[in-house]
């Protein structure tokens, strides 16, 4: 079946550096993608979304890039802070019921 996965299970960066978290998807029919952040012991928090008719979308300190040719999604976090330490996972949706399929997640650790 179709699935969403992540290239790297863990990522460690220095405070102030930029972080890039990657996600590969396999369902070419997916037309909507979301990034979530989940801190330890908490529920996932919506960060940013992007539709398949876009290549890039920017939020506050975050940018999501979508490359439909290679079915790749990335989340860029500028000037990473200790509060950004969390698990990040992507989700994709498509079809008539827009059911979300979630990736397993990448653990981002920010070192002071």
């Amino acid at each position: 079946g179709e699935s969403v996965g992540l290239h790297l299970p863990t990522l460690s960066v220095q405070e102030g550096d930029n972080s890039i978290i990657n996600c590969a998807y396999s369902n070419s029919a997916s037309d909507y993608f979301i990034w979530y952040k989940q801190e330890s012991g908490k529920g996932p928090q919506f960060i940013i979304d992007i539709r398949s008719n876009m290549d890039k979308r920017q939020g506050q300190r975050v940018t999501v890039l979508l490359n439909k040719t290679v079915k790749h999604l990335s989340l860029q976090i500028a000037a990473t802070q200790p509060g950004d330490s969390a698990v990040y996972f992507c989700a994709e949706a498509g079809g008539s019921n827009y059911k979300l399929t979630f990736g397993k997640g990448t653990l981002l650790t920010v070192n002071p």
Binding site: P44, F46, D49, N97, K99, F102, K104
Partner: protein
């Protein structure tokens, strides 16, 4: 801000007990969801509801039931709790598909 609340953050129950997990959203959303999250397995959809009194099975409905009597409240019921239902349970609410906003989660332990 979207606010999704869950009745308990931590819950400990015994095998065979009937367990109720409550979820409330205050944004008049039509769509609500229940997931469980387990290490290595990610988020898996148990049930969802598109409107009051409407429910549809997700990927892993076995051992669970749900109730949506009011728009703002979506309840997950474990009829007879078992140890393999020990998990983090997450409720989500959606103003328009597919965007979903999650509650803080309930960590359920079944002894």
């Amino acid at each position: 801000d979207v606010k999704v609340t869950q009745s308990s953050r931590y819950l400990v129950k015994r095998t065979g007990e009937k367990v109720f997990l409550e979820c409330v959203q205050d944004m008049d959303h039509e769509n609500m969801f229940w997931y469980r999250q387990d290490p290595g397995l990610g988020l898996r959809l148990i049930y969802f509801s598109y409107d009051v009194k409407m429910k549809e099975k997700g990927d892993i409905p076995e051992g669970y039931s749900v109730s949506r009597e009011k728009k703002e409240r979506f309840s997950l019921i474990l009829e007879s709790a078992s140890t393999n239902q020990t998990s983090m349970y997450l409720c989500a609410s959606s103003p328009h598909l597919p965007t979903q906003y999650f509650g803080p989660g309930t960590r359920l332990t079944v002894l």
